[in-house]
């Protein structure tokens, strides 16, 4: 026991819990505000949407950011979760009285079913690379919703008439799930298994040569990501009714991908922030640009998207970005101890997937000091 405590002490770092602890803190504040009646309907509804978006974005980040495989079918897993989860919930309601218990059980079933399909779609991932895998996952998402559309049990084109959960409670439960998901994902990433996954992304050949079981990890990541996406789907199904197959088109998968790319591949914090921002921006555009102005909604969204992506990624903007960057002060400090990786978990968009390596033109790119977000944990300065 004492060994355990000393081990924990040796390993513990504040930043390891910073992410989920902050989310938890936000949640506590929100619960208090909610209790005081200070949150209006839109905010409460929006919070549930933010919660499932965060789960979707972080779980997709596992696949795209950490494993380095491009998936355009994440909405397909969500679709499975939403349909199966709410279906199971309606069955369970006959047997179990507690709404909360029904929700939890349906989340687990929805997640499990999605995970099984995650395994199935993980199989091609073993054979295919980059854009080919992307199109297969996109195809998978479209197949799933096409099939649900035609299943009478799930309401066919009318959608499955799920029963919504009380909005005031749903967002709290959803955020508790977010915290749990964050703990699980970050713990996983900060372990030897997480190292193995990032090793596959960085250099698959070397990873194989080091005896990393690439097959296992690729499938594992797809399964875990699908599981969480399925849970997000169940939350979605309890947020609104009916569960309609049109929602889960490839456009939605791409929106989740936008969250991941905007937040920075391989950055969980980034995914959380980007998921929140995109959901809020979408909501603001929808509610502010109503009536005749609605036609501008997509236009504004598109312009924001293009501008942000170009600003964030264009080599030409790099100096400006660095000048404006919040981490500039931090970066200066790093300079003193040259080349020592410092804590830069807050850095966005520092890691590129290997898709990059194969596919894009980079002759004049300066060799950047890419820092693996979690590589920092190996910096053991503080441990000694």
């Amino acid at each position: 026991m004492s060994k355990y405590i000393s081990n924990v002490k040796k390993q513990f770092k504040f930043k390891h819990i910073a992410t989920w602890a902050s989310v938890l803190l936000v949640l506590i504040v929100l619960i208090i505000l909610n209790g005081a009646g200070a949150l209006n309907r839109s905010t409460i509804g929006l919070l549930s949407r933010i919660a499932y978006s965060i789960i979707l974005a972080t779980s997709l980040n596992l696949v795209v950011g950490f494993l380095g495989e491009l998936s355009l079918g994440h909405a397909g897993f969500m679709c499975l979760g939403a349909y199966i989860g709410t279906f199971v919930a309606s069955l369970l309601r006959n047997v179990i009285d507690s709404d909360l218990l029904v929700l939890i059980l349906s989340m687990l079933t929805g997640g499990l079913v999605a995970a099984i399909f995650g395994f199935i779609i993980g199989l091609p991932a073993l054979r295919l690379k980059g854009d080919y895998l992307a199109i297969v996952t996109l195809a998978f998402g479209e197949i799933v919703r096409n099939i649900f559309k035609n299943l009478e049990v799930f309401g066919g084109a009318m959608g499955y008439p799920s029963k919504t959960y009380k909005a005031k409670d749903l967002f709290i439960i959803a955020f508790v799930v977010v915290v749990i998901v964050l703990i699980l994902i970050q713990n996983l990433i900060r372990s030897k298994h997480g190292r193995a996954i990032t090793a596959i992304r960085d250099n698959e050949i070397a990873a194989r040569a080091m005896g990393i079981n690439v097959t296992f990890y690729k499938l594992f990541v797809f399964v875990i990501a699908a599981f969480f996406a399925g849970i997000a789907g169940v939350i979605y199904g309890h947020y609104t009714t009916p569960v309609l197959y049109t929602t889960f088109s490839y456009n939605y998968s791409i929106e989740i991908l936008v969250m991941v790319v905007l937040g920075g591949m391989g950055s969980i914090n980034g995914s959380i922030i980007a998921a929140t921002l995109i959901t809020v921006v979408n909501f603001l555009l929808q509610s502010k640009l109503s009536g005749d102005l609605a036609a501008l909604r997509l236009l504004v969204y598109a312009l924001i998207l293009i501008a942000v992506i170009i600003f964030n990624n264009a080599p030409a903007f790099k100096p400006i970005k660095e000048r404006l960057s919040l981490s500039r002060i931090k970066a200066k400090k790093v300079e003193k101890k040259k080349d020592i990786i410092n804590d830069d978990a807050a850095e966005w968009n520092r890691i590129e997937t290997k898709i990059n390596v194969d596919a894009i033109f980079t002759p004049d790119l300066p060799h950047r000091d890419e820092v693996d977000q979690d590589g920092t944990e190996d910096s053991e300065k503080e441990g000694e």
Binding site: K3, Y4, N7, V8, K10, Q11, I183, L184, I185, N187, L188, R190, S191, K192, H193, G194, R195, A196, T198, A199, D202, N203, I205, A206, A207, R208, A209, M210, G211, I212, N213, V214, T215, F220, D339, I340, I341, I351, H367, D369, E370, V371, D372, G375, T376, D378, S379, E380, K381
Partner: protein, 256 residues
């Protein structure tokens, strides 16, 4: 138990009808330092790729410590005890030095825990992680990389990267270490240092080493036996000095 660590029998491979390597018969004794030399394009790296499961040999087979490994996957072969370095360095360049080694420690029997231990951070997780780190530091110390452990692998000098790659390969606890041009790009000092390191790890880690190298000084100063390949076939095999002084070999090098 024989005293042969690696034995290949008529190992060969062809790509689309072209015989890249044929009839390679190696017998590497335990604890031996064995050299694989030959001019460019002779098929040395292809042999390594076959021995590590990157390519599947089209003819022949090979045994490690008496166990046939042909047809096994790269991972499996590594688990069985063959580790390698690459001609064009393949470090996890975006990872810190210590993390490179930690990745390689992945499969060692003492360092096992399930993904669920990881997700829930069970006591086992903490225990293993602490021990893994200690082990990684020990290994880095052997290669004089301890001070560099928090640097990014891509920021290291070329020679240091080579050393790190060997350290990483060693971390998988191999019986047989394949080094693909370990001294390439090194200055004479570094080469000399590398020679002593290779000798030392052979003794300390009870290793057998098979290496590809162009630097003949390095080979003759280090290897007990060599095989010379030319155009995918064995030119000569035997004691290092004799083999390297063979007129055929010299002709192959000068003529090729």
């Amino acid at each position: 138990m024989s005293d042969i660590m690696l034995e290949t029998k008529n190992l060969g491979i062809s790509f689309g009808g072209l015989k890249a390597v044929q009839d390679v018969n190696l017998k590497v004794k335990k604890n031996e330092l064995y050299g694989l030399v030959g001019p460019n394009g002779a098929g040395k790296t292809t042999v390594f790729n076959m021995l590590t499961g990157v390519y599947q040999p089209t003819t022949g087979t090979f045994f490690l410590d008496g166990e046939e490994l042909k047809g096994k996957s790269q991972e499996k072969i590594n688990h069985k005890g063959i580790a390698r370095t690459f001609q064009n360095i393949r470090l996890f360049s975006n990872m810190s030095v210590i993390r490179n080694v930690l990745v390689a420690l992945h499969n060692q029997s003492g360092f096992r825990y399930t993904p669920f231990d990881a997700m829930l951070h069970t006591p086992k997780y903490y225990d293993v992680e602490v021990r893994m780190r200690d082990r990684a530091k020990e290994l880095l110390d052997v290669f004089g990389l301890l001070e560099e452990r928090n640097n990014l692998a891509c920021n290291l000098s070329y020679g240091t990267q080579r050393r790190l790659e060997i350290a990483r390969a060693l971390a998988t606890d191999p019986k047989l270490l394949l080094l693909d041009e370990p001294a390439a790009g090194m200055n004479p000092n570094e080469t000399a240092e590398l020679m002593s390191i290779v000798k030392r790890i052979r003794d300390d880690f009870d290793l057998t080493v098979l290496l590809i190298e162009h630097d003949m000084k390095f080979v003759s100063g280090l290897c007990d036996e060599v095989t010379v390949l030319n155009f995918g076939t064995t030119l000569i095999q035997g004691e290092t000095k004799e083999a390297l002084n063979d007129p055929e070999v010299i002709k192959a090098y000068i003529g090729g």
